[in-house]
Each structure stands twice: as structure tokens, then as C-alpha cells.
């Protein structure tokens, strides 16, 4: 069975000018550099990594919102074009993006009810009465009160706006929703509500998620599979249980060790990474992580590790994986 969305060797490079005004040399910024993953129907792939590691760009590429420098995106086995023509617009019905900035993503001059209905209007689904009915059903399904239908975005709280944005993404029954940090702007109690909502909606509508976050606990909770990105590449990928219990890549290990736990007195090693992530313009030779890696050997400075498979469908891009698991 073909996966719903398959991404192979996706890359997005930007030409940038180094500091130095008009005379600065141009350089290539590799925002995303050879990313491959697949998402099955009704499944959730979590994408984690530091700010600026290319998570959002990867999501936009995967949805066909940005043209890729190289690589393929297959949706339902068909290549996805990024030309903004009628076919592209029609394909938007199946692929949705949920933004982090919900106030920015909503038109402040239109009542939220009409905005949720908009995808149905755009794709001409049903009669006007049917659309209105469907919108009102979904309106209550995401936990908004009926009297809010004519409210404006600025009159709602952050959590309510997130529900509006989710409802708008869901109303045309897409197959895949990419959530770009959907909860990081919300406070913890509302985060939990939205996560439960995402979960319920998946059960109800069978929608697949590409879930982007830097909150590892949330990713662990919602994902069927997790991919860790570092400087535009996936460095480790696997089921959340395996990845968080037994991380192979030193970077993942550092991330996992940074998750706050309820029992802090339990003996555990906290790995604190030194330094900032290198600029994606000057990706270090060899393994991109080697300048910050405590275990880096001579091979890591020269040879870029490929993502290789481990037992149990786990994949990791580290020369030392498997050897160091016992040592660490």
C-alpha cells in the first residue's frame, strides 16, 4: 500500500549574500538538505529539532507550498506540483497547514464562522445551506460555542482561535494536516485541550498529521513516528517509544535528556550541548553535529553519515550508533 505522503530526498537551498554589503560573496543556505519520510493514512509523524533546523521549511515543501530545489513529493502516489495553477488549488483541499500565529492566520475583518466555511466556498462543496450546516457541526465538534459563530478573531482567546484554525483546516476533510507549532503559543492547560482535540479529530475523520514542535513531550504523546532534524537533515527516526527510551544519536540523546521529568531526583545524566547550532550557511564538513558532539571521532569530521537502518525500523545518521549505545 502506498503511503499517503512520501517525500524523497527533499532539499531547499537559498542563495544568500554574506555580510559585506554589495561586495559580500554569495553563499548557499541549505534550509532543508535531503529529507525523506513517509506518512501513512491516519498516522502522525512528529518532526522535532531546534529553532532554525528546517522543520517548517520541510513541512511547506512537503505540502507543495514551496518549490523544492531537488527531491520529490508524492501525494497518494502522484507527484505534487508547486505551480500555483487550478490543479494546485484543487489539491489544497486534501493538504492543509495550521499556523502557529493564529491571529495572523485569520482575517480580522471577517466573522470566524465565515472563515471556517471558506474552504467549502473555495472548493464549491455542497449548497450554501449544506456548507453552513457542516460548518456549524464542526464548530461544535472542535469545542466552540454556537454563539461565537459571528465573533471576530480578536474577540477570542488564543485557545479558541487555535480551534478556529483547526476547524478551518478540517472542514473540507483533508487527508493530511501539517501543524506548524500548533500549541507553542498556548498555555499548558490549553495545550492539553488542543492535543486531545487533535487526537479526537484523528479518530473521527481519519486525518494524518505532520506535527512540528520543539516540545518533545507533546511529540511523544501524539506521534506514531518521530523524526529528529538537525541543520536541515533528519538525524534519527523511529517510533516514539524506541526513540525516547533509547536514543541512538548523540543529538537526540541530548534533547531527550533535556525533557523535564516529574521525579528529578532519579539518577540520570543531563547532557548540555555546548555552543549554538552552526549557521546553515556554514554546515561543518563531515557530520554536521560533530563540533558539539562529545563523542565525535576523526571519522565524523570527514565523512557525512547517511541515515541507516537499525533493527526494528529505527533509522539513525551517526557513525557511532550501535557502538556507543553501550558506552553511554
Amino acid at each position: 500500500m502506498t503511503p499517503l505522503l512520501e517525500v524523497r530526498g527533499l532539499a531547499r537551498h537559498y542563495r544568500v549574500r554574506r555580510p559585506g554589503g554589495l561586495w559580500g560573496r554569495t553563499a548557499v543556505l541549505k534550509a532543508v538538505d535531503g529529507v525523506s519520510f513517509a506518512i501513512g493514512r491516519g498516522r502522525t509523524l512528529g518532526l522535532v529539532g531546534e529553532s532554525g533546523c528546517g522543520k517548517s521549511t520541510a513541512a511547506r515543501l512537503a505540502l507543495g507550498l514551496l518549490p523544492a530545489t531537488s527531491g520529490d513529493v508524492l501525494f497518494d502516489g502522484q507527484p505534487l506540483s508547486t505551480r500555483q495553477d487550478a490543479a494546485w488549488r484543487a489539491s489544497r483541499r486534501k493538504l492543509q497547514l495550521v499556523f502557529q500565529d493564529t491571529l495572523g492566520a485569520l482575517d480580522r475583518r471577517l466573522p470566524i464562522g465565515l472563515q471556517i466555511m471558506e474552504p467549502l466556498d473555495i472548493h464549491g462543496i455542497g449548497t450554501r445551506a449544506e456548507r453552513l450546516e457542516k460548518t456549524k457541526d464542526l464548530f461544535t465538534a472542535v469545542g466552540l460555542l454556537p454563539h461565537m459563530f459571528d465573533r471576530y478573531p480578536h474577540e477570542l482567546s488564543g485557545g479558541q482561535r487555535q480551534r478556529v484554525v483547526l476547524a478551518r483546516a478540517l472542514v473540507a476533510q483533508p487527508a493530511l494536516i501539517a501543524c506548524d507549532e500548533p500549541i507553542s503559543a498556548l498555555d499548558v492547560s490549553i495545550q492539553a485541550q488542543v492535543i486531545n482535540l487533535l487526537h479526537d479529530l484523528r479518530e473521527q475523520f481519519g486525518v494524518a498529521y505532520l506535527f512540528i514542535s520543539h516540545d518533545l513531550r507533546v511529540v511523544r504523546q501524539v506521534s506514531d513516528e518521530v523524526a529528529v532534524m538537525y541543520l536541515g537533515r533528519i538525524v534519527e527516526q523511529g517510533t516514539p517509544d524506541r526513540l525516547f527510551r533509547q536514543p541512538e544519536h548523540p543529538y537526540t540523546r541530548a534533547l531527550v535528556s533535556a525533557i523535564p521529568v516529574a521525579t528529578p531526583n532519579r539518577a540520570r545524566q543531563r547532557i548540555i550541548l555546548k555552543g549554538d547550532p552552526p549557521s546553515p550557511v556554514d554546515v561543518p564538513a563531515g557530520c554536521a553535529f560533530h563540533p558539539r558532539c562529545a563523542l565525535a571521532g576523526p571519522r565524523c569530521r570527514v565523512e557525512t553519515p547517511a541515515l541507516r537502518s537499525m533493527p526494528g525500523g529505527h533509522r539513525v545518521a551517526c557513525h557511532l550508533a550501535g557502538e556507543t549505545a553501550a558506552a553511554a
Binding site: W88, R92, F99, G104, A105, R108, R109, I122, H123, Y152
Partner: protein, 301 residues
Amino acid sequence: MTAIDPATSEVAIGAPRRPVRARWSRLIEAWPPLVMLAIAWIVLTLIVAVGADAIAPYDYSRMDLRARLAPPAFAGGVWTHFLGTDELGRDVFSRLVYSVRISLLIAFAATIMGAVVGTLLGLLAAHLRGFFEEAVLMLIDFQASMPFMIIALAVLAFLGNSLPLFIGLMGLHGWERYARISRGLAISASEQSYAGAIRQLGATPWRVYGRHILPNIASTLIVNITLSFPEIILLESGLSFLGLGVQPPLTSLGNMVGYGREYIELASWILLSPAAVIVLTTLSISLIGDWLRDRLDPTLR
């Protein structure tokens, strides 16, 4: 305008005790008297402009050399020329009525032309980017770097003067500001904002621009219109004053002020009544524009 008005907040607190006064205050807040006066004035000038033939007691070019420089009725003149007459014995009131017609025609037509052309070019530049955007930006810079009076003088000197040409020329005034504003706002709306969100829902550019971007930037454009309208009236006055605008015997407000200037000490009424109409009209448009902008914005309600 956005801040809470002290008067209304006081009313809100005292509302249960004084319902009648509260209702009055709300009514006054919703329909401010000054704005209503401004609307009334604009409606009046429109009526005068449309019905000029019926309202004016004399033909605007009819001379009565025996009654030259007659003062207005309230300054010791006669009621047959109640706003007085000018140096050729033409009735000032009749000329004023026709001037209102011509000036409003020029100002409204030119403002609308400038707003439509400028906004269209700005949105097209934001949508198409690339070469078209560069070309529009270059035109904007060209227009902004040349005093418009000089462009107008050159065009009128070379192409002669006719009313349609003059209106078209005035329409070119200020288009670059609409273009700049609409381009900038449309681009900022498209990047990761509501317009980008709507586009990724699969909306056509028509829907993105017509239903979302245009209503959102309308308030800024309306403010620009209210700034532009008085400028066009003044520009028309300036050009008419220089003899390149509306040509005699046709008359306009600026034209009247221009020719009346020579008699400012002897017969100031020739100049004062058209000047007063210019001031009142431009002020009214500004007031209405301000009010409309707040009224059209749901976040300020």
C-alpha cells in the same frame, strides 16, 4: 480613536441609572454630529452640482456692466445679487454654483481614478512580482521625484487644454501613493499571514485580493483618499490660478479664487465665498473619511 473614550466609559458605568442619557450618548457616539454636518454639507454640494442649472439665478457668464463689483446683500448690496458681483458684473452666487459643479466633478473623478489606478497597479505588482513590480516601482519613483505641478504644466502646454484631459491629468496625481500602500500591505499580508493562509486553502487570486486583502487595506486607502481629495482641489485651484486649469469663461472654485485675488482689497467677496466652499468641502471629506475608517474596522467597534 482607538482608545476608550472617557465620556463613553463613564456612560457605561452610569448606564443603569440614566438609561435615557445613555441612549443619547450611544446615538451621538454612533452618529457624531460633526460628521453628520460634514455629510450634510457634501450632500448639499452634490445637490448644487447636479442641479446647478436650476439653482443658479443667472448664467455664470452673463455680464451686467452697470452692476460691477456690487457688494453682497448683507454688506449693503442688493438682494438680486445676494453674494455680490465680480469685476465684470457677473453674479458671484451663480458662478459659485457652477464652480462647485466643475470642481467637484474634477476632484471626485480624479480622486477615484487615482485610487483605482494606483491600487490596481500596487496589487498587481504585489501579485506578479518580478519585472512588472520593478516597472511599477520605477514609475512610482519617477512620479514621486517630479513635482506634479511641473508635469501638469508640461502636459497642458504641449497637449492643449480640454476638460477631459484636465480630469485625466488630475487623476494621475497621487496614484503612486495608493500603489505604494497597496503593494506594501498586500506583500506583508501574503507572507505567513492571513492572505498566505487563504491562498494555501486553495483560493483563487480573485478571492484572496477581493475578499480578504482589499477589505483589510481599505481603511488605509480611505485615509489616503481623504488626504488626496483636498490636494486635488488645491492643485486644480493652483493650475487654474496659473491659467492652465479650467479656462474662462468656464469657472471653477480655484479659478474664482485666482481671478478674485486681484480685487482682494476692493471686493473680497469674489474670493471669499469660493475659498469658504473649498475649506468646508475638504474639511468635510476629511471628517467623513476618518469616521468611515473607524466604522469599517470591526476591531475598533
